[in-house]
C-alpha cells in the first residue's frame, strides 16, 4: 500500500515538474508566437499588441502562476492561433488518440502473444525463425514507412481499405471501423515486434527457472507447467514492456497520426509546438505526462496483481 501511495505522489510530482519544464522550455526555444502568427508580414508594433493580448508581456513567474491557477480551476486557456478553448480541442483529440492506441495495443497483443508463445514453444525451429525474422524487420522499419507500406498494399493496390483520413463514428460507424484498421495494424505491428520478443525470452527464461524444474520433478506435463507456471511468470516482464511500449506509442503517436492523417493529440501537439501555440503545447504535454504516468501506474497495479511480492511492498 505504501508502495502505491509513493507511486501516486511521485506521479503527481512528475506532472507538476513537467508542467514547469514545458512552460519554460517552450518559452526558451527561439521563436515568438506573434512572429509566428504574422510570418513574413511581421510588424513590430502589431507584434507588441499581440503579445499583450496573448498574455505574454508579464514576467515568467506571473505567467506561470496565472496559467497553473487557471488549470486548477479547469481552465486550460485559449489557443493563440484560433482563440478556441484549448481544453475542448484537446479533449476531442485525446479521445481519438486513445481510440487509436487502445485498438492498436489490442491488435499488438493479439499478434504478439501467439507469436511469442509459438516461437518460444518452437525455439530454433522454422516457426521461431520466421517470427523472429518478422519481428526484426518490424523493429528496424520506421513506423511511417510501415504505414506508407500498408497504405500502398491495402489502399493503393487492393482498394480494400481507406488510405487515411478520419471518419466520424457517429456519422458512419462501419466506415470509421474500416478507416481504423490500417492505423491499428500499424500501431499493433510496431508494438508487437518488441513485445513478442520479450514474451518469447520471458517464456524461455521461465522454462529454465528452478521452480519449473521443480514442477517437472513433480511429474507435471509440459502443458500443465506452461499453463500454471510459465505463462503467468512470463507475463510479468512482458507487462512492463507493454507499459513502456504504450508510453512510447503515446510519444510517437504523431508519426502514425501524420501518416494516416488522423486528427489525434500527437499531431496537434507537434503543430502547436511549431506554431508556438503555448497554451495548446502546455496542456497537451501535461496530458502526455499524465497519460504516461497513468499507464505506468496501471501497469504497476497489474504487476502487483500478478506478483505478490510487489503487492506487499
Amino acid at each position: 500500500m505504501k508502495y502505491y501511495v509513493l507511486r501516486i505522489t511521485g506521479g503527481l510530482l512528475t506532472i507538476f515538474v513537467s508542467s514547469l519544464l514545458v512552460f519554460s522550455l517552450i518559452r526558451l526555444i527561439p521563436g515568438d508566437p506573434a512572429a509566428e502568427l504574422m510570418g513574413l508580414a511581421f510588424d513590430p508594433k502589431l507584434a507588441h499588441l499581440l503579445r499583450i493580448r496573448l498574455g505574454l508581456e508579464g514576467s515568467f513567474v506571473q505567467q506561470y502562476i496565472a496559467w497553473i491557477t487557471a488549470v486548477f480551476h479547469g481552465d486550460f486557456g485559449y489557443s493563440f492561433i484560433n482563440g478556441a478553448p484549448v481544453g475542448q480541442e484537446i479533449g476531442d483529440r485525446l479521445i481519438r488518440t486513445v481510440q487509436l492506441l487502445v485498438g492498436g495495443v489490442i491488435v499488438g497483443l493479439l499478434i504478439s502473444i501467439p507469436a511469442g508463445i509459438v516461437s518460444a514453444r518452437n525455439k530454433g525451429k522454422w516457426q521461431d525463425g520466421g517470427i523472429m525474422a518478422f519481428t526484426t524487420l518490424m523493429l528496424s522499419v520506421p513506423q511511417f514507412v510501415l504505414g506508407i507500406f500498408l497504405i500502398y498494399i491495402f489502399a493503393v493496390r487492393m482498394h480494400v481499405l481507406p488510405a487515411g483520413g478520419w471518419i466520424d463514428p457517429h456519422d458512419n460507424f462501419v466506415e470509421w471501423l474500416k478507416s481504423m484498421v490500417l492505423p491499428w495494424l500499424c500501431v499493433g505491428m510496431a508494438m508487437s515486434a518488441f513485445t513478442s520478443r520479450v514474451l518469447r525470452a520471458s517464456i524461455l527464461d521461465a522454462k529454465n527457472m528452478d521452480y519449473t524444474r521443480t514442477a517437472r520433478s513433480w511429474g507435471l506435463s509440459e502443458k500443465e507447467i506452461a499453463k500454471k507456471h510459465v505463462y503467468k511468470n512470463a507475463s510479468a516482464p512482458t507487462l512492463t514492456v507493454v507499459g513502456l511500449e504504450i508510453g512510447y506509442l503515446l510519444g510517437g503517436a504523431f508519426v502514425i497520426e501524420n501518416v494516416f492523417a488522423y486528427p489525434g493529440i500527437g499531431q496537434l501537439t507537434v503543430k502547436a509546438i511549431s506554431q508556438r501555440d503555448y497554451p495548446m503545447v502546455q496542456t497537451s504535454i501535461l496530458i502526455f505526462a499524465t497519460g504516461f504516468i497513468l499507464v505506468n501506474l496501471i501497469v504497476d497495479l497489474a504487476y502487483g496483481f500478478i506478483d505478490p511480492r510487489i503487492r506487499q511492498r
Binding site: 521443480t214 520433478s217 513433480w218 507435471l220 507456471h229 506478483d307 505478490p308
Partner: protein
C-alpha cells in the same frame, strides 16, 4: 545385476550437446536397494547432480544425449516414452533441489503449488488435495500449516521453504527420494533440522534415498553407502564407514583432507565448517 535393486543404473553416459570436452557422465553404474540411503559425493562438476537428474529424467533430451540403462523397478526408463516416464517421476521419485528459495514459484500460493500435482497426477479433488497438502505440511513439521497454504513463498523462511519442497516431493509417497544438496543454501542450525527431518521421514516412509552432497560430514550421517565421483566417473564406492575411515583413492583422501575436523563427527560442529563453498 541385483534383481532386488530399486534403481539400477548401468553404463550410463551423458553428453551435453552444447558443452565441449569429455562427457558429463561416462559409463557409470549404480545400484540402490529398497530402503537404502546412498551418498553421492564429489566436487562440483564431478557429475553427481547430473546422475541425479538423469535418474529422475530431468535432463532435457534436446540438451543431453543419454546412453546405457536406467532400470527403475526393472523398467528401463531410457526406453520408456516421455509420458510414462513423467508419470513414474510423479508417483515414484521425489526430488529435492539445492536452492529452496528458487525451487518454488514465487507467484503461486504454497497451497496451490502443493495441490497441483495431487490434482493433476493423483486425480484428487481440490478439497481432498487441500486436506492432503495440510497433512504434508504437518508431516514436514511446519507450524500453522493451515495458514501456510495461503501464503506465498516469499512470506516464509528459507528452512520452511525447503520443508515445503520436501513435502511436495513426498506428496505421492515415492519409493525413491533424491536430495540434491538439500541444505547447502540454508543456515547452519536449519541445516541440521532438515537433515534430521529427512532421516526421520526416510525411516517412517521406508524410502530409498540418494543423497547428493560435496559434504562428506553430512553424508556420513545420512548414508549407508557412499559413492565417490570425479569427472563423470565413479572412483570409489562402499560402506560409509569403510570409505570414510579407509579411503583407497587419493581423490577421496583429498576430499577428506578438506574437512578439517572430520574426526569429531559431532553434528553441531561438523556442520559449521563446511557449508556453501560449492555455490
Amino acid at each position: 545385476m541385483n534383481s532386488l535393486s530399486l534403481v539400477s543404473v548401468r553404463n550410463l553416459s551423458v553428453d551435453f550437446w552444447r558443452v565441449a570436452g569429455p562427457p558429463a557422465l561416462s559409463s557409470v553404474s549404480l545400484e540402490v536397494s529398497p530402503g537404502e540411503a546412498v551418498g553421492l559425493v564429489g566436487e562440483s562438476g564431478s557429475g553427481k547432480s547430473t546422475l541425479g537428474f538423469a535418474i529422475a529424467g530431468l535432463l532435457d533430451p534436446n540438451d543431453a544425449q543419454l546412453s546405457g540403462e536406467i532400470l527403475f523397478k526393472s523398467q528401463n526408463l531410457l526406453t520408456t516414452n516421455q509420458d510414462d516416464y513423467r508419470k513414474i517421476r510423479g508417483s515414484e521419485i521425489g526430488y529435492i533441489f539445492q536452492d529452496a528459495s528458487s525451487s518454488l514459484n514465487p507467484l503461486l500460493k504454497i497451497g496451490k503449488q502443493l495441490t497441483h500435482p495431487l490434482m493433476a497426477n493423483g486425480g484428487m479433488s481440490k478439497n481432498d488435495a487441500m486436506v492432503r497438502a495440510k497433512e504434508l505440511l504437518d508431516m514436514v513439521e511446519i507450524s500453522q500449516s493451515e495458514r501456510r497454504l495461503n501464503q506465498y513463498p516469499h512470506e516464509i523462511s528459507g528452512g520452511m521453504k525447503q520443508r515445503v519442497v520436501i513435502a511436495a516431493a513426498l506428496s505421492r509417497d515415492p519409493s525413491l527420494l533424491i536430495a540434491d544438496e538439500p541444505t547447502t543454501a540454508l543456515d547452519v542450525t536449519v541445516q541440521a533440522q532438515i537433515i534430521d527431518l529427512l532421516l526421520r521421514l526416510k525411516k517412517s516412509l521406508s524410502m530409498s534415498l540418494i543423497f547428493i552432497s560435496h559434504d562428506l560430514g553430512v553424508v556420513a550421517r545420512v548414508a549407508d553407502r557412499v559413492v565417490v565421483m570425479k569427472d563423470g566417473n565413479i572412483v570409489e564406492s562402499g560402506g560409509v564407514e569403510q570409505v570414510l575411515a579407509n579411503p583407497k583413492e587419493s581423490y577421496t583422501q583429498l576430499l577428506l583432507a578438506n574437512i578439517p575436523k572430520l574426526r569429531h563427527v559431532d553434528q553441531s560442529h561438523s556442520l559449521s565448517f563446511w557449508g556453501t563453498n560449492e555455490r
